[in-house]
């Protein structure tokens, strides 16, 4: 029997498939992974500390930089926390607009997931297709707020600008082509036997494991637990809308892919209902220019695209928050990486990174 040795392979922080600057050290026995340890912090900018030295309203653009492919959802989470702290009542039209843009951004983010998963599995064409369709959403955001990333559109108390008159027609047009491009992914990716072999049964996770790692978002729904804050907390206008929470069965990469795939349809459903029910009215609540929330603290959470996005804000009664803590879903989901990679092959580790869908701006904060 020849003597074998385990060795360490450092994937990242500069690696084609680690989605930013995540470093994962793989302990390998041949091609089999014995242990995967994530090392992060390469993108740490100290946003929590920076928010302490800005006023509440100045803090909103910093949240854009957390999860930079779904900035609208971060804006929403932070603004909801500040509103809960300062007891600001948001006008109904603003709430509707928030739902529309947040769900559009969820679709955009899931398209990035599909694209990067395809890219990491070597199907470059699938990546280009997904990014092509994401462009259409970015064009819509361009119309709404003039930016294609880091929108800073949702503000404390409402939204920064009303929807332009042509938005409804353009959004309608987009919703009509959603099934078309989804069918294209079905043809080029889902139906491909190689992709199915790569995703079925790889990186499986049990319900107990997912719960013990405190995973949230599509990662926990993939194991079959319908934990969606939009349903669990029913915040904002979400109880008004009819939508399902897609869940997986086996908790493997295939389920993670399918759950996000189905969520695109559900988000489109919500946007359709919100567009139809969009009322007239104000888009901004009336509150003093210098916001001084009362002394106290709040923990407010929303369903970000990657899971439960929570903001814990402590106010000391001044214009600046005393302490802000952000519960970043990608950061906590990364705890599951070790369990997902163990016993798999090097090729699967790449699929596992993609399937967790961490975003380093959010992990490193």
């Amino acid at each position: 029997m020849p003597k074998t040795e385990t060795y360490t392979l450092s994937m990242g922080p500069q690696h084609p498939s680690t989605h930013g600057v995540l470093q994962v050290r793989l302990d390998l026995d041949g091609e089999n992974i014995l242990k995967a340890t994530p090392y992060m912090g390469y993108l740490h900018r100290g946003i929590e500390k920076l928010l302490e030295s800005r006023t509440y309203i100045q803090g909103v653009p910093y949240t854009d930089r957390l999860d930079y492919v779904s900035s609208m959802n971060n804006n929403l989470g932070y603004c909801r926390a500040v509103e809960e702290l300062a007891q600001i009542e948001v006008p109904e039209r603003a709430e509707y607009i928030r739902v529309i843009v947040a769900e559009l951004n969820r679709i955009a983010s899931h398209l990035v997931f599909i694209g990067s998963l395809a890219n990491d599995l070597g199907a470059v064409t699938g990546m280009i297709y997904a990014f092509r369709d994401r462009e259409k959403i970015l064009d819509l955001f361009d119309l709404v707020c003039g930016a294609r990333m880091t929108f800073h559109y949702i503000r404390v108390g409402g939204v920064s600008a009303d929807l332009p008159p042509e938005f409804a027609a353009k959004c309608d047009e987009f919703l009509k082509i959603v099934p078309e491009f989804m069918q294209e992914y079905e043809d080029i990716l889902t139906g491909n036997e190689i992709l199915q072999h790569r995703l079925h049964g790889t990186s499986p996770m049990t319900k107990e494991q997912a719960l013990s790692h405190n995973m949230t978002g599509p990662n926990i729904r993939a194991v079959g637990i319908p934990f969606d804050i939009r349903k669990v907390d029913g915040y904002g206008l979400y109880p008004k809308f009819e939508f399902d929470v897609p869940v997986g069965e086996n908790g493997d990469n295939w389920d993670r892919y399918r759950v996000r795939y189905q969520e695109i349809y559900e988000s489109a459903k919500i946007i359709r209902q919100a567009l139809d029910g969009l009322p007239e009215g104000d888009i901004m609540a009336k509150f003093p220019k210098v916001l001084r929330p009362p002394k106290g603290e709040v923990f407010s959470r929303t369903e970000g695209t990657r899971g439960e996005l929570g903001f814990y804000i402590v106010s000391d009664g001044s214009t600046k928050p005393y302490r802000v803590h952000i519960r970043r879903p990608s950061f906590i989901n990364l705890q599951g990486l070790d369990d997902m990679c163990r016993g798999m092959l090097i090729g699967d580790s790449v699929a596992a990174f993609s399937a967790i869908d961490p975003l380093m701006g959010e992990v490193d904060c």
Binding site: G122, I128, G347
Partner: protein, 353 residues
């Protein structure tokens, strides 16, 4: 009319070669010298084909990829269609710094890309480009071709080993596993062709296809097995685990830059061309075809196969190493063996009929 007859009967290229040979005989009046010069011309022509193919295929690959991905592709350098893009690529590669990684085994490391080019270029000697146009039309052509092309494993392994990088080493190890295991179904799929034509000489195989049907119709299973294993032999998607960009960065190529990397690139495209030529020779009837001269038919069929391989590359995801090896040993090899069996039974039955 005379010339046309000659062209149809003998083919453009061999006519040209004959004329050139006559010219050399006139000049030197010595059969040995003329023969030597003719071989030199042939070698030059093959190297020329490989270089031109690399240039055309880089452009073609980018345009095909752009077409598949709903993009435009190169459109700046050299007019609207970016025709000079490969030249620009080449200039870029040549002007790059030659970085030698620290701690590598320098001699072996430098030998890697050069050695890789030898077997890839060598097998071109056996290809019949047209009727009677082959540099060495030996009677064990297939055998020699397979023997030489399997030597391409070693340069990958040594460059992976010598780079002193884990990614490169994993890539080198994968190469050995992949290329050795796909050699077997490839050889067995060709066995059916050899049985039908009764010869290992490549020009005999093509001639057999002009007498009988094209072998793609008589040996469809062998064709499929051959194309799949040829894709694996050339390390292209879906079997590009050796490079595996998303997993092991670029495998054995990770530590090479500039012209050394370009040599790998050249070998890759030379491989692509050679497997397309092989498919054409064994299954698509080689130079046979109506109306047009043989060499044109040959070129068209080869380009069609090149397009098919590029099509694979830009639509499929990458397989995993264990799935890929299992596919080779558990599916392709039995399939090829069954094909050999049925071919044998078929030939035996036809003798009795």
């Amino acid at each position: 009319m005379d010339i046309l007859n000659m062209m149809m009967g003998q083919g453009v290229v061999s006519t040209l070669a004959d004329q050139l040979h006559n010219l050399f005989m006139l000049l030197f009046d010595n059969a040995v010298v003329a023969g030597f010069l003719m071989k030199c011309v042939g070698i030059g022509a093959i190297l020329g084909i490989i270089s031109v193919a690399a240039i055309v295929f880089t452009y073609g690959e980018r345009k095909v990829c752009a077409f598949m991905q709903v993009r435009i592709g190169p459109n700046r350098v050299g007019g609207r269609f970016g025709l000079l893009q490969p030249i620009a690529d080449m200039l870029k590669l040549m002007s790059k710094e030659d970085i030698i990684p620290q701690g590598c085994d320098r001699v072996v490391w430098a030998l890697g890309p050069m050695l890789l080019f030898v077997p890839t270029a060598l097998i071109y000697a056996f290809f019949p480009f047209d009727n009677g146009v082959a540099l060495a039309d030996v009677n064990v052509g297939i055998f020699l071709m397979l023997a030489i092309s399997s030597q391409a494993v070693l340069p990958f392994l040594i460059s992976g080993y010598a780079s002193n990088s884990k990614y490169a080493f994993i890539g080198g190890m994968r190469t050995v596993a992949q290329m050795l295991s796909y050699e077997a179904p490839m050889v067995f799929s060709l066995l059916g062709v050899v049985m039908l034509s009764g010869s290992m000489r490549m020009s005999d195989i093509v001639n057999a296809q002009s007498e009988q049907l094209w072998f793609i119709l008589m040996q469809p299973i062998a064709f499929v097995v051959f194309v799949i294993s040829a894709t694996a032999e050339t390390n292209r998607v879906p079997f590009d685990l050796v490079e595996g960009e998303a997993e092991i960065v670029a495998g054995p190529f990770a530590e090479y830059s500039g012209m050394r990397w370009a040599l790998f690139f050249l070998a890759e495209y030379a491989n692509l061309l050679s497997v397309s030529i092989l498919t054409t020779v064994f299954f698509l009837g080689g130079w046979n075809g109506p109306f047009l001269p043989g060499v044109v038919w040959f070129g068209l069929k080869v380009l069609a196969m090149v397009f098919v391989f590029m099509w694979f590359r830009w639509t499929f995801p990458r397989t995993r190493i264990d799935q890929m090896l299992a596919f080779s040993w558990k599916i392709l090899l039995p399939l090829a063996l069954v094909n050999v069996l049925f071919t044998g039974v078929g030939i035996y039955a036809r003798q009795w009929m």
